[in-house]
């Protein structure tokens, strides 16, 4: 039976480590029973409604080493518990990686950005309401998808990559980081992994339960953005029903290197159309070396949605995605 809203925190242990070592040790010890908390915006709804029932929360926001933005040898490193507001307002990010600053500034609402962290925005769980409601869908370990059914409510669901589950990547910063060729720094008590942003997110064909490659004992500690796309020409746009406090119907993050009106190189990524940020590599190839023009933009838009398989209520995402690609290339 589906739980109705309880909206009261259950009894739960709370750990507030102040250093990396303790945090990683806790993650290692608690494993799947330890729920990582950044700003809490993807936490308290789950726990209060008792649709996720971990034994303990590990709050990460007191670990200074995982906060802040600093220059590194090749680019910048952003701690995973840096708030979205800090990223959106950071002069370094604004000047070199405006794509990320813009994307971070479009997340949710000012209040949520003030407490919400980059790590939280990247690893937040699927926003499909059936799943969030606590229904026994594939993603929740069941054997049905309520959204991908003749009567399912799927206006906000996937055009691509459906594999039993049709939930989409809800993040605004994830497409920006893929478009910036970022690297995720993932730590556990025994090792550190460096994972390209593009490979960090996983679709349901590979893992129906998790949206990232993080293991239960691992923590995303930082994001590194290389200088490859620093100061490139960027385009970010998020189309949502509302202009604040909403998830994207479709978003787009794109980086261009342009010379004399010709596109030398590009990375174009759409969010909210697939379970992972969808990099449009065929479009990138098609426009590389081409002069920017309305015709190029239009044909690239058409190409972007090849293979799209709309559900009952999300056909509009096809022209919307085409238009956003067109706008990005048009510049």
């Amino acid at each position: 039976m589906v739980a109705t809203s309880h909206d009261v925190m259950p009894d739960i242990e709370l750990y507030q480590p102040t250093d990396e070592e303790n945090a990683l040790a806790l993650a290692n010890t608690l494993g799947a029973d330890g729920w990582l908390v950044g700003g809490g915006q993807d936490t308290y709804g789950w726990l209060k409604d008792r649709n996720k029932n971990p034994a303990a929360m590990i709050e990460l926001t007191q670990i200074d080493a995982w906060k802040g933005i600093k220059e590194i040898a090749d680019g910048i490193e952003i701690g995973a518990v840096t708030t979205l507001t800090d990223i959106a307002n950071n002069p370094l990010v604004q000047s070199r990686y405006a794509l990320l600053a813009t994307a971070a500034g479009k997340v949710a609402s000012p209040q949520i950005r003030n407490v919400g962290t980059l790590g939280g925005n990247l690893i937040q769980d699927a926003r499909c309401w059936y799943y969030r409601r606590g229904l026994d869908c594939y993603r929740a370990g069941g054997n049905i998808c309520y959204a991908d059914s003749p009567e399912g409510l799927n206006r906000e669901h996937a055009l691509f990559g459906a594999s039993r589950c049709v939930a989409v990547s809800p993040s605004d910063t994830a497409p920006a980081l893929v478009a910036l060729d970022a690297t995720m720094v993932v730590a556990s008590s025994s090792r550190e992994r460096l994972i390209p942003a593009q490979d960090f997110f996983v679709g349901p064909e590979r893992d129906i339960v998790n949206m990232t490659v993080l293991n239960d004992d691992e923590i995303l500690t930082a994001v590194r953005i290389p200088s490859t796309w620093a100061n490139a020409e960027f385009y970010f746009e998020k189309v949502a029903d509302r202009n604040v406090w909403d998830f994207a119907l479709v978003n787009i993050a794109a980086s261009f290197k342009v010379s004399g009106g010709s596109i030398e190189d590009a990375r174009i990524v759409c969010g909210a159309v697939e379970c992972t940020p969808r990099r449009l590599e065929s479009v990138e190839s098609a426009i590389r070396g081409q002069q920017r023009s309305e015709e190029l933009a239009a044909s690239a838009g058409e190409m972007a949605t090849e293979g799209a398989r709309p559900l009952n209520y999300n056909h509009f995402k096809v022209p919307l995605m085409q238009n956003l690609v067109k706008r990005a290339i048009r510049g």
């Binding site: 259950p10 008792r50 009567e151 029903d241 509302r242 604040v244 056909h315 509009f316 067109k326």
Partner: protein
């Protein structure tokens, strides 16, 4: 007419408390020994409770008791669609089954998790039209509709009739209700332009910021209930009956309310406040029940959605010759409403249609309960009709402002199915004022201009609601300190009308406002009965009662002065807090002195004799408790005749991005026509607040239910898409006509509801304009619909599906 208070801004007495946070809402109260209640609500859209096993929960430490439907309805539940306190026969997900009281909320929730409720699942339905079809499921136990005074009934159409309606045709089934006037056939025959279409309007929740929390305790046989309401005495009057306590033994405390919008006007729409009252009675402890945001959505109710068919005919000169409507209204899992009839009535009134017919049926669905919401019926239909009016104007070669002017209601006209005259109607002035403020002639030239991917849309819309009642009571008091105490039973739902209506009494007695006290906030302050604060009526209704009570006190002052100082009462007047001879103002008494004298005289001067015979029972109780304690003015307002309308006109300019489907409101002007303006700042708040509501209705808000399992999908603010600060224009310009209504002593009428309808009508018209006159025949018109339309993607696979469950 020059006034001392009417039409002047002032600072209502609760503002400081709201700004500083000192004012208390129901959740802010505590009481020694207070425990907390939480609800177990139905996870199933339609079911019967077979058994409840709470033994484990009741054995838990810190758990004090449980309340079930068997406790509150020992003789069985009422056989009606009315909201119940608790139920064993839920007809929507989230309906309260039982409440548990515990030392804290966490313990109560843990106890609830240990309770086993066994349900018998029953067939459920989300779409009223599915229920209409032969063999379709019924939302209620006993049918799919409820006939007043008769009970549950079944309305069924053949499959062919349902299919034909869904295909967009005029329903061929017998309507449950049919009302009309004029020669409809001749009207259409004489029309040069006839527009016929199916249409849908969304029903969605009220979104009050304050959840419907309540705290209750019993002391010396009296129930003290801290609650939330948009009415004060009117709601308390009904709540006494719901709890089952004599009126004189209920103290309802409600100093401030965080929004009502129709759902908290009457006790029947918020019976959940009886849960802590009953639970407190059972366990003999004060009980606080804080409702969750989700509960606010599931048991808080929603507007009725429409699936309908409309046919409008216009003569060559642009006059509306005929209007024909057939509406299937969504009655939800509980409640209901008259939205569809009100919608038809509004067309008759606002556009002065020469012949009108209403046909309709209200059908249940296992969704949120339905009830009045800001302009119930009038506002939905305003958004549907406005783009059609523009289509007619375009076809007939008439300016869009002009077609509204030539169909406008005005003083001397009648309106509605019952052909009722207006008390007054200054819509022509409102249209003119809006056009001037908006600079219509220049703006309309920008219509459909393109700027890259963006197109300009211009829209105009009109809003209406009947805005005044009568027959209520007024009480004012004065003591030897000479201060005027206005006992006001109007609720404090954020409109400040509890204070602004009190100023009618101050006006009569020419009292400085700082020498007046508004006595309100709790019923043991001995307040008169008022009409429930729905239907935009408070300003009209309660300026009449406050004015009347002050007139009674004024007459008594003159009598006392004449008796003590000589002459005839007619020789006296009041000024500067004195009653004095007109010919020689040195001969007189201060208000303090006259109040002292009144208390010495007693009898009718102190409410102990010669009371108006028609006082309501509630007022009689209040008067009896005040009697003898001060100088009293008391009044029963006789019934007025005719329809006091509240009108608004809105003009807007938008930019619609054809690539994203997003719209931006560049400019918006709303003009009110509500008689004499009593409180300009309050009116402005209503115009702007209603405007934000109109934006939500037109392009954003939604109310989703999953047809597979009957679960509500939009039970929070982000899922429901209420407008945010960045979805509304930086500024909505406002103005008002400010001409007096002859049936109100200060010339005032209400206007809270129409301010939403005109914005919604203007915005839908502007979207239609930006899309070369395409009419969606639906509200809301959302981003995806616009993108689909521009891309030529058909939405035919979801006909009439915007009502509740559009994905």
């Amino acid at each position: 007419m020059a006034y001392m208070h009417i039409g002047k801004d002032f600072v209502p007495p609760d503002v400081a408390g709201k700004v500083t946070g000192r004012i208390k809402y129901s959740e802010d109260y505590t009481r020694e020994g207070m425990v907390y209640a939480r609800l177990l609500t139905s996870p199933i859209p339609h079911a019967k409770v077979v058994s409840i096993d709470a033994s484990e929960a009741l054995a838990m430490e810190g758990v004090f008791g449980i309340l079930t439907a068997d406790d509150v309805y020992p003789d069985g539940e009422a056989n009606s669609t009315g909201l119940k306190i608790l139920t064993n026969e839920p007809t929507l997900v989230g309906e309260p089954i039982l409440a548990v009281a515990a030392v804290d909320e966490k313990t109560a929730e843990t106890a609830i998790a240990a309770i086993t409720v066994t349900f018998e699942r029953l067939p459920f339905v989300m779409d009223p039209v599915d229920s209409l079809e032969e063999g379709g499921p019924d939302a209620y136990n006993g049918g799919n509709t409820f006939v007043f005074r008769e009970g549950f009934a079944q309305e069924k159409w053949t499959s062919d009739q349902v299919a034909s309606f869904r295909a967009g045709n005029e329903p061929t089934a017998e309507p449950a209700a049919e009302l009309s006037y004029g020669d409809l056939e001749a009207g259409f025959a004489n029309s040069a332009f006839v527009y016929e279409t199916p249409f849908t309007t969304a029903g969605y929740p009220h979104m009050s910021m304050e959840p419907r929390s309540a705290m209750a305790y019993w002391e010396d046989g009296k129930l003290y209930l801290h609650g939330t309401s948009q009415s004060l005495t009117a709601l308390a009057d009904g709540m006494a009956g719901i709890v089952g306590v004599p009126k004189e033994d209920l103290v309802f405390i409600n100093a401030a309310t965080g929004g009502g919008f129709g759902q908290r006007a009457r006790a029947g729409s918020i019976p959940s406040m009886a849960i802590p009252a009953k639970l407190s009675q059972k366990i003999n402890r004060p009980v606080m029940m804080r409702c969750t945001r989700e509960e606010e959505f599931t048991i808080g109710g929603a507007r009725q959605g429409f699936q309908g068919w409309i046919k409008l005919g216009f003569k060559q000169d642009g006059t509306m010759a005929a209007a024909d409507l057939w509406i299937v209204s969504d009655n939800g899992g509980k409640g209901g409403g008259g939205d569809a009839f009100s919608a038809t009535n509004a067309i008759s009134i606002v556009y002065q249609a020469e012949a009108v017919r209403f046909r309709g049926v209200s059908i249940g669905s296992n969704t949120a309960h339905r009830g009045a919401q800001r302009g119930p019926g009038e506002n939905q239909i305003a958004a549907i009709v406005s783009p059609i009016l523009d289509k007619a104007a375009e076809e007939l070669g008439i300016d869009r402002l002009e077609i509204r002017k030539l169909n406008t209601p005005q003083t001397g006209d009648v309106g509605g199915i019952n052909r009722q005259p207006f008390t007054s109607a200054y819509m022509p002035e409102a249209l003119e004022q809006a056009a001037t403020a908006f600079n219509w002639e220049e703006r309309i030239t920008r219509s459909r201009q393109r700027n890259g991917s963006k197109v300009t849309g211009i829209g105009i819309g009109q809003g209406y609601h009947n805005a005044g009642r009568s027959g209520m009571d007024g009480i004012i008091m004065m003591g030897p300190d000479g201060r005027l105490r206005v006992h006001n039973g109007v609720g404090n739902l954020g409109t400040y009308s509890y204070a602004s209506t009190s100023r009618a009494a101050a006006e009569v007695l020419k009292m400085p406002w700082d020498r007046c006290d508004v006595i309100t906030g709790r019923t043991d302050n001995h307040l008169p009965i008022t009409s429930p604060q729905d239907g935009s009526n408070s300003i009209f209704t309660n300026t009449r009662t406050c004015f009347g009570a002050a007139q009674d006190m004024l007459a008594k002052m003159k009598e006392i002065a004449a008796a003590d100082l000589g002459g005839d009462p007619a020789d006296y007047d009041v000024s500067n807090e004195r009653v004095h001879q007109i010919a020689d103002d040195t001969v007189g008494m201060t208000f303090g002195e006259v109040a002292q004298r009144a208390m010495e005289l007693g009898g009718k001067y102190t409410g102990e004799a010669e009371l108006p015979e028609e006082l309501a029972e509630w007022t009689q109780i209040s008067v009896s408790r005040l009697a003898g304690s001060g100088f009293m003015g008391v009044y029963h307002d006789p019934r007025h005749s005719n329809n006091p309308p509240g009108f608004t006109v809105t003009c807007t300019e938008i930019e619609l991005d054809t690539e994203t489907g997003k719209i931006e409101i560049l400019d918006m002007v709303s003009i009110a026509e509500c008689g004499t303006v009593v409180h300009p700042q309050g009116l402005k708040n209503q115009l702007v607040g209603g405007g934000v509501w109109g934006i939500g209705m037109s392009v954003l808000e939604r109310h989703l239910y999953d047809p597979q399992n009957g679960l509500p999908a939009s039970t929070g603010y982000w899922q429901s898409k209420i407008p945010t600060y960045l979805d509304t224009p930086l500024k909505i310009d406002t103005g008002w006509v400010d001409l007096p209504d002859p049936e109100n002593p200060v010339g005032a009428r209400g206007v809270g509801e129409p301010s939403m309808g005109s914005v919604s009508a203007a915005l839908n018209a502007a979207v239609s304009d930006a899309l070369d006159g395409h009419v969606f025949n639906a509200t809301p018109v959302t981003t995806d619909m616009i993108v689909n339309h521009i891309a030529g993607i058909s939405e035919e696979w979801v006909p009439l599906a915007q009502n509740n469950f559009r994905g």
